[in-house]
């Protein structure tokens, strides 16, 4: 695991700082400083290959999240197994020639 950010702002700063970019990001939505949607847009602007799995209790943003480029959207609550399965799926779909 590359790291944990406390909020959307920190997520973007951390992503920029990483020399080796993470392949998969688990993104929440309702966070202080910057929302998950805003952070997703900024991160995808920096690197379109990264797979952002939205994990949120707010189902109303599902359409928007997928439209701005999120890999998938998972509504809480979900099991750990389901999450692991989805992370593996995201990694498998990551482009090989990085």
């Amino acid at each position: 695991m590359a790291g944990i950010a406390e909020d959307g702002e920190e997520a973007v700063i951390m992503f920029k700082a990483f020399l080796v970019k993470p392949k998969v990001i688990l993104m929440d939505h309702r966070m202080p400083e910057k929302t998950g949607l805003e952070a997703t847009e900024e991160i995808l602007d920096l690197d379109k290959k990264v797979k952002i799995i939205f994990v949120s209790a707010d189902v109303s943003i599902k359409e928007e999240a997928l439209s701005i480029g999120a890999f998938s959207f998972w509504v809480k609550p979900f099991t750990i197994d389901a999450l692991i399965h989805e992370i593996n799926r995201a990694i498998e779909s990551y482009p090989l020639n990085n």
């Binding site: 209790a57 707010d58 509504v75 809480k76 609550p77 099991t79 197994d81």
Partner: protein
Amino acid sequence: MVTKTGKSKSGVNIGIGILVLFFIFLTSYYNYLLFHSIAELFSILIAFSIFIIGWNSRKYMDNSYFLLLGIAYLFIGLIDLIHTLGYTGMGIFLGYATNLPAQLWIAARYLEAISLLVALLLINKKFGYKYLFLLYSIIFTLIIMAIFYWKIFPTCFIEGEGLTLFKIYSEYLINVILFINIILILRRRIKFEKLIYYYIIISIISTICAEMAFTLYISAYGFSNLVGHIFKIISFYFVYKAIVETGFKRPYNLIFRDLKLRETELVKYQTQLESLVEERTIKLKKSEEKYRKAYHRAEFYKDLFAHDINNILQSLLSGIQVCEVTLDNPSETRDSLNIMKTQVMRGSNLVSNIYNLSKLEESEMPLRKRAVCKVLKKSIISVKKIDRERSLNIQFDFDDDELFILGNDLLEIVFDNILNNAIKHNKNATIEIKIKISKQERTHVNYLKIEFLDNGKGVSDTRKEIIFNRGKREIKNIYGMGLGLSLLKKIIETYNGEIWVEDRVKGDYLKGSNFILLIPEVL
């Protein structure tokens, strides 16, 4: 409203009127017969003009006031004409002295006073013009016959003696009738336009003055006779102003006064209505604002509820799963942990169902073309992913991606719910679900019939209807949370479709259920 120009115009008219009257008066010194003829012809012309206006307005009036006056003045004018022609010195009706014109005068004045009174008393009535004309024709004929043929009309003037008592008392009686006319006009003033009302009053007062003068004359050429005729000219001048001039220059004030009154009433009601509408609009806007605030509050709490409860449930679920992995004796606690996990997922389903139901009721999900088989396959994959202790066998052999219905994103929820329900209420070691798709035509509409046959515990006949009804307590433990199936029904109904349940084996519900969806197909 009288403007400065209007006032000066009136002043000029009055000046001209006085001048004309003076010249007519002067003619009496030249030749009294000339003066009399001019005076009478003036009133006769006005009388005939009143007839023309009254007669031609008969179709537009709600009452017969002006028609009656018009017809009356025609015959009054005729009697006055005969009076003029028969005046002492005219030499037309030989053998008749001053009595003849006096009799004709009284007859005309009686007819005038009584006609004015009757017209006012019956001002709201409408009479047939033919009957009125016939009536006045008969009265006129009777008067003429009584004076000229039967000679039964009372004597009014005796040569050498002067006016008879009949003549004098008749003049007083005529004045009484005219006075009653004034009172009636005062009471019915609303029926008249203001200026017309004043003109008529002045005319009647002038006639009263003329009649008083005519009680005093000794000679047909005497001063009081002259004064009486002057007042008659003034009287008919104001009748001309009231009826003739208004009828030509401002017909709406005369003929269409009722219409104008109704128009005024209408404008008044319109103003009241507009004020009422404005008041109600303000109230409506206030209650709309209240509703909008209440709606936003409800939306806010709904979103907050859904979001925060889901977060809580996530924490619970994650905690349970950690316990599963880390507890020393997981087998002892496995059952409890499974129960807790199940309850968390039930809570999550409830939140999701409520959220979707509210969205559906707000019509926030427009319909679009959905490929049924594609969505079904996705649901099947998702359901199969869930780890179970028992084996799950879902049979779906249909592979036509060209089967479409008009639906929305909730179609996935429909299929997920039906499949999950079939799994949840099935205690067999192997859960069997068979999905069939067929086509059906009903009342010229093509439908897709999707059947979900399971080997679960089934639904008894008594419960087949009520499981789709929300809020029924007895069905809570059978299927869904009392909300899931009612949500499915609502979703399918927005697709103009139907959902119901039958037995997998007809007549034996214990062998499993067949959940059937019937949704219109689109090409």
